[in-house]
Homo-oligomer: 690 residues x 2
């Protein structure tokens, strides 16, 4: 499952001439290269149409408009938290699925934001000018201030979202202007059991049998959004060998990192994160045994944790592959040698050294960065609310460019959407999470660390967690609104224990953050920019930038692969799902499927593999045919795609998508979703369904 | 806590001239070096006496005889499983501690074996002759067969234990002959709360405040063992700067491994183990919330898991230290260069290549090695019983030298002690462990692996676990005895579901084992032997061999250390424990201590640090003064000692021990253990106690 938590890999940019590698920006799409390789022409109108038909879910997924009435197709796992927010002990939409039989039945998701990319503007010159000659803290401050100014100028209404985007690690800066929609309503979702059939064991695997899809609708001014930009539905799906495109938002790749950064990830960051997630997984799995309601409220987090674990394990595998790592090292050494031969290469060589120093410093301070600066020790929604209120009150008193980035004016709509979420909160689960994370804080910083003492005093982690969660009133949405609107005076006057707690830990958190930004982040940013510019000067811009959760277009073909003697075909069928059913989760088909089996065309293609280059964040991306129609829905990559974080291996790396043929067949014969089908396929003949 | 699960390190053998580095064999102790550095002379009589006063706990700890009547001092954490075995829902000795007020109150530990090293014989020539000219499977088979013959010839009675020991990775082979005692009875243990005060947060830390001690008694023929070899008790403990010796059984170091092996550990083995243990920790921690009895039965495993986690994390830290790893690489490169310059160096260079190949193969088959060959998927005592019965029946039909190593005659007393253990088993906990581990098996091998299908069929891991644990009758000790004694006919006829399960998975397990032994283990063994011999030829035997859980003697001084500006003193006091008490576990002193506080000399030294070179397995080792008296009890190392697995850093690596002064004070004024004190200190004046 390719949510934003990202994705072996044998070749890098140098070898991509004949590969389908590349997550291309829309304003840098290699039309000529595509035509040369596949004989397929796309023009600017085609690109504009696909771009405007694409959507981003701000919480970390991709999507597409599939009707003129604001119907948006994405993955089930991208709307899972909405389904959980809408569910209760009495009504569990993850178990039963969701279908709005009429327009009036479409229900708003508490926290969901859809973005449509309407404009891209090059702002490199402005950014460069603002930071010219600066380093360290001054570089960082100037860059943030200028980005904030650009974004605020751009964002002339809350209905817009403007982001200054760093490409090529600072080689280029673009302003991305999105149309922002926060009224997003649930239309259809199948049962979790078929959306995630095979569960964690089958995740990132292929062959695969998942209906990982859902439909939501974007409302504008209380009415379904009317739009001419949407992808027409092809109910037949693609054929093997078809050229296809994936338009979506790959969350992040690290294909252009320095060796110092890769070594840090391999030796420090990834192992530590994997251990933390593993432990949390163990605790959550057993928490679920407390009872069915505990299981229900913790399913979403467990899914996130398991999905991240599997993805990050795959990424680590790529970095500990000796040949791959040696190749990365050789490529950097070769580039540095080139730099060494040029007068203007000195700055870039110096940048490598600075980045190495910053990475070494990061090793030493990473525990503080995670547990004092970051909220790794405070895993509860209540703390998130409290920190937002405390910081929001402080920050909003300042000039826009002096604020912490996430409280600049352009960012506030996203902040308040989370703060004012009506999603239910389960106190037992909050206590569980906070106890566990406070215990990790004590373990990581040590019981004698001043911050541990400030947080725990003489109490145990469980006592602190219970006291704070039981004592806080922040469950009350009206109170949160009142505190936000009351600003600093209101927040300062609050006696709420969680607010008091967030206030007490904030000075330490801010101090570490300042150190981190001034001594590490700014050094890496500035250094990366210097190297990127040297690379652009030496090698030009024929490559694509590392992914940064901005809209990209990949191309490739529908194709299986070969592993040793094993040939993996491109398609699975509905029949395969029935063959895999054991009746036990996660291999248990839902009753609706078992009941519908006699009516189904079991040869209908279910999921398929393609050579398109994607990564976490591409979840929900449409697979588009050359005629501009949608033929599939990306929901995963194969196990080999996980190394795609660091490089693309054309032989093995595959996108995994749901076939529109399977979606059509299921909506029709399993779910009887006539209203939806008629919207997707306007001239469709009605079919006898259940 | 330094049980056998092992333990930055800046210098290796080359720089040890002035360091206290070295885990010396008793027949290779550097008397001259010691005298040169510290002016301390030890003679052979002194060495023999300390050796015979030392003891090994076969389950993975060290110990020492401290009275003429078989009284043995070791750590609390070395007898924790015995205390747990003796406890019940009604009587929890971990909570209350244990004290046999009279000889009759001393209770036998179900599974505990004490070994005393009585003789060392060089058998290198015999082993070399048996394997001359052989490689691969033939090398392995011949070596095992010859070792088995030597051990069986040596072991003329079940009261002996004979082990052929590999030193210098095959540079030398010694036969170690031990006196074996299996009747070991609990005499004294304090409360877990003070034995492990500070819990996991303080583990591997210093300053430290733990009374991690216990006393057991060795019985021979039903009566306390009479022996003249024991360490006289020094109730005053050591002084700062004193030269001290640690006599114990370091479990294993990897200071002489090749880079290929180190890379495998760094990139594959350690991260995977850490993830598994992290997840198990999370699950166990939350299992404990099911209730007090669930907490009690799972405490032992949780301790083991957390202890291993912290130790292995420290080991990994050493390997990802860039300078340290680069130094290891440089040392190997230098040695290989030396080999390259000599005619007789070719075989050793070829051995490096073979080991690299074997390590690469290991990466590819490690999941099968752990989950098909090994019991990683079958975490329950019942499966251990069943596998022992099934394999024992098969193996005992064969000639001794054709058997799997662990079923050779010389090994059977250890096998039957575990099989016939009367330790209680909690079925809820067994189901929990088996469910969890079967889930890991499915995850690791994948649901489509033939072995996964054989194990699970159409059932879920939880269903299989419940069916097997509920259905087996192997809880019944008499049945286990009957099946063992009945041999193959009895085992084959058994309908017990766990026996049937163990039978069903055995052919696959044996097949992977054969592949592993023939293609990996034998290659690494043979290659290591070749390299070791080349090293001995080039550099002589001035160094010590890597630790292998055989008796070693380290020397050093009682000494703190300095970290940057922080000076860590050598001693802590009882007063410090009271200052650290928060009243909340794991920082809660037991009631006995709080009550006794007014009577205590709070300036009594509690724990201390020394520069002696130790590692996991040294837990329970005596700290011996030059006069041969015991002054301390090793129970831990500081955080810097964990990298000792790969090299010794004299500046930072410290042993952590309980001072005999604290033990004396506590036995006297807290526990009123007059009977024990009179045995430890024969001419002692009685003291008014509670």
């Amino acid at each position: 499952m390719r949510i934003i938590v990202a994705l072996l890999v044998l070749c890098t940019a140098a070898t991509s001439a004949h590969a389908d590698e590349g997550m291309w920006t829309y304003n840098g799409f290699p039309k000529a290269k595509l035509e040369k390789k596949y004989g397929v022409k796309v023009d600017d109108a085609w690109l504009d149409h696909v771009r405007l038909s694409s959507a981003r879910l701000a919480q970390g997924c991709s999507a597409s408009f599939v009707s003129p009435n604001g119907l948006v197709l994405t993955n089930h796992h991208c709307v899972e938290s909405c389904l959980q927010d809408l569910s209760s002990a009495e009504k569990d939409y993850l178990a039963t699925g969701f279908q709005a039989k009429t327009a009036a039945d479409e229900v708003k998701c508490p926290v969901m934001e859809v973005n449509q990319l309407v404009e891209i503007t090059d702002v490199t010159a402005r950014l460069k000018k603002a930071t010219a000659g600066l380093t360290g803290q001054k570089f960082n401050d100037a860059q943030k201030a200028e980005s904030g100014r650009i974004e605020t100028e751009c964002q002339t209404s809350p209905a817009l979202r403007c982001n200054v985007v760093t490409l090529y690690h600072g080689g280029r800066y673009d302003l991305y202007r999105y149309r922002r929609y926060q009224d997003v309503r649930m239309v259809f979702a199948p049962e979790f059991a078929i959306a995630f059939f095979g569960g964690d064991p089958d995740n990132f695997m292929f062959p695969r049998y998942d209906l990982d899809m859902s439909l939501v609708r974007v409302y504008d001014d209380g009415k379904p959004l009317q739009s001419k930009d949407f992808l027409a539905w092809n109910p037949a799906g693609p054929s093997e060998g078809d050229v296809v495109f994936v338009s979506g938002h790959p969350g992040g790749t690290d294909r252009q990192l320095t060796m110092a950064e890769l070594q840090y990830q391999r030796d420090v960051q990834l192992p530590a994160t994997l251990m933390r997630l593993s432990e949390l997984r163990g605790a959550l799995t057993e928490f679920q045994n407390r009872g069915p309601e505990q299981k229900r409220v913790s399913n979403g987090l467990l899914f996130m944790v398991e999905n991240s674990l599997k993805a990050l394990k795959g990424e680590r595998e790529a970095l500990v592959d000796r040949d791959f790592f040696a190749q990365k090292a050789a490529a950097e050494a070769a580039f540095r040698k080139k730099l060494g031969g040029r007068k203007d290469g000195r700055a870039a060589l110096q940048a490598y050294a600075s980045i190495q120093q910053a990475e070494d410093l990061k090793r030493n301070v990473r525990d503080e960065v995670n547990y004092v600066m970051g909220p790794a020790g405070f895993m509860t929604s209540y703390f998130q609310f409290a920190r937002t209120l405390v910081r929001g009150a402080d920050e909003r008193q300042r000039k826009n460019e002096d604020r912490l980035e996430e409280y600049q004016e352009a960012k506030l709509p996203a902040v308040t959407q989370s703060l004012f979420s009506s999603a239910p909160i389960d106190d037992e689960f909050e206590i569980f999470k906070l106890t566990w994370s406070l215990t990790k804080l004590r373990e990581t910083l040590g019981p004698d660390h001043a911050f541990t003492k400030r947080v725990l005093g003489q109490e145990s982690p469980a006592e602190v967690a219970k006291r704070l969660v039981s004592g806080t009133k922040l469950r009350d949405l009206a109170l949160r609104k009142q505190l936000w609107e009351g600003g600093k005076a209101a927040v300062d006057a609050s006696q709420d224990p969680m607010i008091a707690f967030a206030r007490a830990v904030d000075p330490d958190a801010r101090a570490v953050r300042k150190m981190y930004e001034d001594e590490i982040e700014s050094v890496v940013k500035k250094g990366s920019e210097t190297i990127a510019q040297a690379r652009l000067a030496l090698e030009g811009t024929s490559g694509y930038p590392d992914a940064t959760f901005t809209l990209r277009l990949s191309y490739g073909t529908v194709k299986g692969w070969t592993e040793g003697k094993k040939v993996v075909p491109a398609f699975t069928t509905l029949e395969g799902a029935f063959a895999r059913d054991t009746g036990r989760a996660p291999f248990a088909l839902p009753k609706s499927w078992l009941d519908a089996k006699p009516r189904l065309d079991l040869q209908t293609r279910f999921d398929f593999a393609a050579t398109t280059d994607i990564i976490g964040g591409n979840s929900g991306s449409p697979v588009v045919a050359r005629d501009g129609r949608i033929v599939g829905l990306v929901f995963d990559g194969n196990i080999w795609s996980l190394g795609g974080k660091y490089g693309f291996d054309e032989k093995l790396n595959r996108t995994v998508a749901v076939d529109t043929a399977a979606i059509t067949e299921a909506l029709d014969k399993i779910y009887g979703a006539t209203r939806i089908l008629e919207e997707l396929i306007p001239r469709r003949k009605p079919h006898a369904a259940n």
